[in-house]
Subunit: 247 residues, 2 copies
Amino acid sequence: MAARHEEIADALRRAIDREDYTVGSLLPPETELAARYGVSRGTVRQAVATLTAEGLIGSRQGARRVVLAGRRSQSFAELRSFAQWARAMGREATGRVMAQEWRTVTAEDRARLQLDPGTRVLHVLRLRGLDGQPVLLERTVYADWISTAVEHIEADCPSVTQRLLDDTGLVLAYGEHVIDAVAASARDAELLAVRRTSPLLRVRRVTTTREGRPVEWSDDRYRPDAVRFSVHTSIGNNALARMTADQ
Amino acid sequence: MAARHEEIADALRRAIDREDYTVGSLLPPETELAARYGVSRGTVRQAVATLTAEGLIGSRQGARRVVLAGRRSQSFAELRSFAQWARAMGREATGRVMAQEWRTVTAEDRARLQLDPGTRVLHVLRLRGLDGQPVLLERTVYADWISTAVEHIEADCPSVTQRLLDDTGLVLAYGEHVIDAVAASARDAELLAVRRTSPLLRVRRVTTTREGRPVEWSDDRYRPDAVRFSVHTSIGNNALARMTADQ
DNA sequence: GAGTGGTCTAGACCACAAG
DNA sequence: TTGTGGTCTAGACCACTCA
């Protein structure tokens, strides 16, 4: 059973989607929402805090909350799993391992995955598609303690994340993503079916367990004509940060 | 005077920076922090919620909070202002208007800025640099009601955001950013001093006031060898969303 | 000055983690 | 079983917005 504040957040989200509250209009006061849903003010505040974090509404002391955006239901994508995201969009995800190899950790692998020198880790090159079209090339390094489980997954498994959850109970909980652009290498171009040196959207990410233990790090290259990223920011929120390239 | 929960969040942030709590270690329980700072549990929860949103710590019911990352003090960049961000990084920001022109709104301008057909708006092409090197080319469209104020800002003003705040009291509070990659056009290449067709990191954004009123929308192209973006995600947080290009 | 969101308290009960 | 975070309440006071 969902928490009461989540039910209220859902109800408000649906109301915004339904355009009961249009973009630019004002939300009812907290006290009125509290009365309407039969909860305390604190519970209402928890619900609207969720919508604020999602970028749906804005908040300022002394003034009523304002609706900033609508139609967001679709883009609550699960960023952790390409396959889950594709399904939510009504698309079919495919995946295929193009190369797989054990190597001794580099300095970069060690730093990102918090491993000891000399550890052997699994490198995987995986091509992923949407409705048959190649859209993403992943170069992933898995930590040693999960590598053997990854190694035995079949090459065309559509959702590695789901597979690891089913097989080992592993949950990917946190991620740090660094986004930039690169020119397609000869290999990138061949696999993604684009011209060499054409622009690709690159996301380098580290994913960790709920305990904060790094599981994998990956260099993901997307065809920018197929996939984009969207981020909300607000005056009190710093999920997105600009950084110089030398950091 | 800052709120008590902000002071506590600051103290915890500094403790993490100072490595009193190292990455991977556990934070003290809420009750202990409440006693230490002489506040109620609710106030402590508000403080740690801030750090969670920033990606510094992770939270799961039943287990102690875990420290996910450190050394974040530098990257609390103000995304709203290129100049403020540069100053925080210890760099000097420059800016120069390369072209400026009034045009009648297109369908896209109207949708993004919520304007009536036939409205005249100001288009500005601005080149921005970091320590003398060109790094960003902005193509910005300003809503009619702010355009005249923008028009009279001098061409080499380093911070338009600060200028608008000083002159008109305008605060840019919310933003929606869509990130992808494009090949440099001939014009882009010339101004950013890169080869034609080299990859650029593109951010298309709409910025609104605290009241949710759109102020400007912009196509920003960054040299990916100079600037990157970083985003935190967690299992209960969706500031970053993947989207297909056709939406 | 009335309305509204922001802060804070003190306490209760529940759900989950881990030994 | 115990510790810990998650949820929720009822009420108080303050800071800000807006008419």
